[in-house]
Symmetry: C2
Subunit: 366 residues, 2 copies
Amino acid sequence: MNAVDHMNAVDDIAGRPREGNTMTEDTARLRQPSMADVARTAGVSAQTVSRALRGSPNVNPETRRRVLAAVEQLGYRFNSAARALSSGRSHTIGLVLLASGGYYSRSAVTAGVEAAAGAAGYAVSIATIAALDTGLMEQSLSKLADQGVDGFVIAVPLISVTRKMEDITRDIPTVTLDGSRTAGARVLGIDQREAGRVATQHLLDLGHRQVWHISGPDEWIEARRRRQGWQECLSSAGIEAPPLLEGDWSPDSGYRQGQIIAMIPEVTAVFVASDEMAFGVIRALHERGRSVPDDVSIVSVDDIALAAYSAPPLTTVRQDFYHYGAAAVALLLGEDADTEGAAGTQGDSVAASLTVRASTAPPRTH
Amino acid sequence: MNAVDHMNAVDDIAGRPREGNTMTEDTARLRQPSMADVARTAGVSAQTVSRALRGSPNVNPETRRRVLAAVEQLGYRFNSAARALSSGRSHTIGLVLLASGGYYSRSAVTAGVEAAAGAAGYAVSIATIAALDTGLMEQSLSKLADQGVDGFVIAVPLISVTRKMEDITRDIPTVTLDGSRTAGARVLGIDQREAGRVATQHLLDLGHRQVWHISGPDEWIEARRRRQGWQECLSSAGIEAPPLLEGDWSPDSGYRQGQIIAMIPEVTAVFVASDEMAFGVIRALHERGRSVPDDVSIVSVDDIALAAYSAPPLTTVRQDFYHYGAAAVALLLGEDADTEGAAGTQGDSVAASLTVRASTAPPRTH
DNA sequence: GTTACGTATGGCACCGATAACATAGGCTCG
DNA sequence: CGAGCCTATGTTATCGGTGCCATACGTAAC
């Protein structure tokens, strides 16, 4: 089917065999040198070249030296398509991202994945899905599967896993970041429940008697877990949780929920599920004349680069997305990192830690 | 050389031939179906299958239908490695990004590139360089070249172009975003000079007699051009430009420069080269008791998602990074977009437009 | 009624590497 | 000293497509 889709694809760039070259070099060099060329130059067989380059133990050091010299001399670079075809591995990792939902995290996770993959000799191919939609998700996975990726890092909270997704992730090793599990996928997760708990506890410790929560969308596992942590923390303090407000991670949704909060005089502390929403919340509160943190304390999650430059600077639970992406790759490549065990237990290779700034304070004492 | 580096790479994932399968299907299906299989099923030759799938005009509609049916039935997907090897095209575009310098733009450009590439049947492989360094840049290009990408989108401001970069970009079609040109590369650019002019003019129009500027780092072409626009605008208004302050795009650098600004009473208007720096500037000003926009007006560039949620909301020159990335791919694929002509002239396919919010106001009248 | 050309299709070599098997010395050990 | 094994290397088949050429048929042109 994807093969069919491809019918309409445009074939354009490349193909014109570099006619623009400075024609100064001998014409024989038009084609990139191949292993056979290296073999000839070094006076060995192509197979030996292959072995030498891949570090096989059974190669005479002297031979290896000759091969490397020939490689250097000819400027040989391996052809990854050929390698992929014959070895069955593409040395490429597919990264699935969600276009909405926090550009900071996306960008940091990407950087982490790419760095770790690159260090291990893997390339990273990306697929972004525009919205949290099962169909789009399937499409992206197929697309990457067609490209022949050796593994997936899925940085999208899979809530409902379809048969097709199962099929694909069963054939190709997969690590899901904070998502739900599929048949074959391993899950790497920050302990989001703990994050929710820490944030909420911080507010209680400051003396607040009640903590409200503006969560992320219910389809997101992160959102659910943070909410869980919030609830658990409140109930273990003997407090009944107030009504839940829900945003969609965008600053704008934070603004809208913030307008509601601003109208409820008794609110003194809010746990907001992301920094970006917190920006919106604070703005709404200010517009209604409620001061942060004097009237209302705000804690959020992420610690994006701008968190320290909010007005007031945000107290927030830090998430190290870069490290997070890198850990996913490590897990995928088998250099084991912590894996999630059962439904709720998860490795905390990437710990959640609270950064206290100025958006939280003890409640006003009348 | 890269071939040599590869010696140390780790080969791990994949390779274990999906032993975890639900063994319910007939054993013959262990291997993915190939074109030959499709050909057999459809009763034609493999060559015809290839033609049918690629949309060759010389295929009988009836035959094509049979082929597509066979594809559907077998769940055939083409093997991209094989295709790349035999056709010499990988259908992959390499995207080079800079880890520092604004995660918003990075993330949006990436999304744009990926969307446009995907629509044209191309995959996107990324390489992030940690800092603006010639060596790292060369490395990234080689890495992608080794992967056999068909084209480059370079979203990094190349200032000094080395021989090696020239070599690579001469062989492989390249589009540079707002960078300097290399031998073979085309350059796509927002008219940054115009952006600088628009921003500065806005402040002058409000009645300010002088406009200060906090620029980005000098190695960045964007930074230079914005500064140029600022200078030109001032000089054509008969104003002598004040001393230049320089940041590094980070909010923190904005904060530091903002502290300086705050100490100079006569400053009433500042053009800050990026939104993220503007956050820092505003914070510094507030801390010193100077109000934005009452005491000092601030205009910046980018219009990131949080720009509307700054306190006060930022007046800023919008850049549509997503569109920008998409346009680069279009240019690369030959569906011509605007190209930069000579040194200074550039296509404005992606226009710069001012979004007026609350960080600018007329100067206080004493 | 040949010639000439366009359309639909098949056959085969080949892209560049790797896996699997084969081979030839050299060494160990009973 | 011959069996058995390890090391270093070569040979061949193969991965799954695509490029190029050949072929067969139908039809328009002279």
